[in-house]
Point group: D2
Chain length 315, copies 4
């Protein structure tokens, strides 16, 4: 990741501003506020604002339950209780805003999380930066044979090199033709003073999906956790997981108690169906039960055994 001089200056300015506030704050998050945390080859995530901390959740819950929460006498106990029982609204009382630079094909996955506020850089108004994502060799995976949306083995050296050459060559050529159509370079230089350029809103269609875009993305804590549960999961595409992993760190700095409950109940937890429950019960009793008797499909059986790490039962 390389910041422009202007960006680096803007971050420095933001980090040196200090004011006194009566609002609750989050000291560890303040430490990294505005900082550009690098992701992939040109991407980053910056926390640019936040509202509330762990105590805000507790406070909202105590307003809801009134004297009814007296019994739960620690904040941490209350947050764990809320998480376990899916009491979602107190977690909506905290808000966070990120500035994110990411490849367009990842932005397209990301935007499907609708409960967030977004301001994206507009290629109708302005020229996109000349930056595109090229995977590292170790991330150039083949299509999985067993899983339609997954990755399989890493490509061999020659084939990997070929893929990278194609990606790089096409991104550079299409970008260069984008400038040609605009009659303007990415730095604002006019190419041919005697020509007028194609409208930006049209020229952008020539760019490839690994071109970087950027946006401000603001959401509440509940929806952030919904996002992270799906996107920090091993089923998620590696490239979006790279963002989610860094965001997990910011979550930990922001609301450490909530983070712990989230890791225990959501990320590390599992769901068991009605049929699955009765199988687990039999296994605990020591009953012999096979996939054939279980009423589950082979796939579902294996998912259940994997969830409880019963490798010998996999078929």
């Amino acid at each position: 990741m390389k910041l422009t001089k202007e960006q680096a200056q803007e971050i420095k300015d933001q980090q040196s501003q200090a004011s006194t506030t009566k609002r609750v704050n989050s000291p560890e998050l303040e430490e990294i506020l505005y900082e550009a945390l690098p992701i992939l080859d040109h991407g980053f995530i910056r926390v640019v604002d936040y509202m509330g901390n762990d105590t805000s959740i507790v406070q909202a819950a105590r307003v809801s339950y009134g004297k009814g929460t007296k019994k739960v006498n620690t904040d941490s106990g209350l947050i764990k209780y809320l998480m376990r029982h899916w009491h979602s609204t107190p977690f909506e009382m905290c808000e966070i805003k990120y500035h994110i630079k990411l490849p367009i094909f990842i932005a397209r996955q990301w935007i499907r999380h609708r409960t967030a506020n977004v301001n994206e850089y507009s290629a109708r108004y302005s020229i996109l930066d000349k930056e595109f994502y090229l995977p590292k060799t170790e991330n150039l995976a083949a299509q999985s044979q067993s899983n339609r949306q997954g990755r399989g083995d890493i490509l061999e050296g020659d084939q990997a090199k070929k893929v990278l050459d194609l990606l790089k060559g096409d991104a550079e050529r299409t970008y260069s033709n984008y400038e040609e159509m605009l009659n303007e370079r990415y730095d604002g230089t006019i190419i041919d003073e005697n020509k007028i350029g194609l409208a930006r809103e049209l020229a952008r269609m020539n760019l490839t999906l690994n071109t970087y875009t950027q946006w401000y993305w603001k959401t509440d804590l509940l929806n952030l956790m919904n996002f992270l549960r799906l996107r920090a999961d091993h089923h998620a595409q590696y490239e979006i997981r790279a963002y989610a992993d860094v965001m997990l760190d910011t979550l930990k700095k922001w609301v450490p108690t909530t983070y712990e409950a989230f890791m225990d109940y959501r990320v590390g937890g599992t769901e068991v169906s009605a049929k699955g429950k009765s199988i687990i019960q039999k296994l605990i009793k020591g009953d012999d039960i096979s996939m054939e008797d279980s009423g589950l499909s082979k796939r579902e059986w294996n998912e259940l055994m994997e969830a409880f790490d019963l490798k010998s039962k996999l078929i």
Copy 2:
């Protein structure tokens, strides 16, 4: 409005907490942070947290439009432009959280604004306070004869007194029977040690709709303005308008530039239909045009004339 000793202490504690932050802030809003602003007879509004200020809107817009916003060289000019052209997303970048005490029948109107986060005091868990709304005599209006949802003249002295007696008597009696069913007073005293009380989730159904409830209500600036446009309007019920008016003041302290644009383009503005436009054009040209020729219904004609303060044209 009377605060309990605990509430007064909590506010004092919150107001005396101070920390340093790198976040942007809003000095005028900090002044009144946590303060209980009285509304109606027992209600209040407290701003308990916020995120962002006028510059956050500008910053988000400049990310979106990139170099494209260079021409608009003042922040105030840009905010006015965004407001005028309904560029809504930059206004979503600011967030505010209120603690509100309000009568249940008003809470029922309020909650219809769905794009907000809410934690309400739960009468399943805890006993509601013994407080109910009684209108001032000057607000005891008769049903409007012309407008199905409006108010007409103020009731005469005798009838007004009668209404207040009924409201007060019924609220007190139903609350007292609520305690009776719970076998517990609002202050926690058990009424009859030999009896068990009815479940709270059931007993509450005996309360009248003017009983006060309270909640934390959090929303972004765009949705706050949508709320205020409808609820600070003269068509809104007086009781909810009382809240909206105080919130308008908090809006002004929080984001003064946005407030100004909001008052000009939304609150003070009007909408004109296609047919209405052609009538206004004729009036400007000095053409004589009557309701009959306009294609408008009498009602719509009058609404148009009132919007432009053309009293002589009312029919």
Copy 3:
């Protein structure tokens, strides 16, 4: 439940209308379309419109996954897969609309599900019906001693009678005073020709929370299931569960395959935390593990044991 003559006629008219459509339909749901299914003493639920059926979910999923779904060769297998893996968007492709009559205190719980469209009867415009909910004696439960939001034992005969008398007396008196203030009976009769009535938007505040209201409520299948998972659960208040149970029946008639997957994976299923998983693994291995060693609180331990029906482990 008693329908007015007008309502009964309207239902008859709606049920006799028939048209030919190219849209997919749901024959079992058509059977009960518009019918008023009675709930509590005066409430009802009517399915008044719907869009899509099980095949709509499959169709949307196949558009998303393209040729990638070829392997899952049955519709039922695909729907189960989607449910198990929380692929939520295909379930959003179906929509249903209910007409519901329910007590106000239940409406207040219900409306917290924000992702739905609602048109409620407005007591600003019109007079509410003279109908209020009175629980059956077997539902008059005491406050639970162990659970702040639950119910305990059923009240004894005398106390139950007393409670019912209070509820009935207060509802009738407050309604009668509501009419008095309005200077109008519920059937439209003016009480005193020489007086004008209080505005409806004010008079309504005198009504108790068990007064019935009604609304049209429209939501998509995904959000309907989210609603039912919470509200058909045994933690939900009995009165809202009564509605959810009837809605579960309509779900079954509408999308039978989805209903089955929903009952298996959501309603009958359970969630296990990371800590819980490792305890279950030990139990399967035959290891002796006690609450003290588990890292769980007593409450959490018991919840886990109950989820897997391990009664002997309860402490």
Copy 4:
């Protein structure tokens, strides 16, 4: 637009299915149900399902306002009233579902309308079709000099040809390299049996933004109108307007009365600020008022004059 044999057959099958329903229907919309309405060079819109019609809006409104709506004695009058006064919820009672094929850069604009349900073809699972948008020569506009997001003059012949050559060449080359990386052609043929292909989720990043994608898009009538107001407007990019224009036709067939009110109050209407209102009042009185005295900026002044077609006042 060219449909595959399978698509054409699917449409034929869907159009020949007929069932009897008690639901309200919309005869004109039934006529074109499932039909692929061509847009741009390869795109289309198909209405694939709907719920409700004009009468559903009226019915919901009459439930809300109860006897209060008796006075408005025609359905058309009531719908106009609701539209004029922004009574939004009754319009949410109707729902429509489209199947849409569109270029990715347009899909990216479209998806910003968050209040809709979407199932998009997934390039993680399946290979995208070999189809990309190439503008017609008459749509190849230069960047506007006055408006950062607009289009100016049409490009001259030579330059236009050059742009089209670049767009076509780059799209074809990147698509061909996409196949190369996948080791698979768009029709499923394996290119080299001895090689494994790159994961689809990675290879797709090489495609250009004018590649076509497709999705199911479902929304309620209110949000459809919000979409159309913005996207059928002359400020919208031509390519998305092409879709919005066809959707306007489907709106007309679906809910003709609502369509008429929408065109009058929303599409053909305008908004006037507080300052604007006072200027219009002066103009009606025959007062001489200039931009300088108006308190408006030049831009805002011109927008106001244009809204009322006062060309002589433009400066």
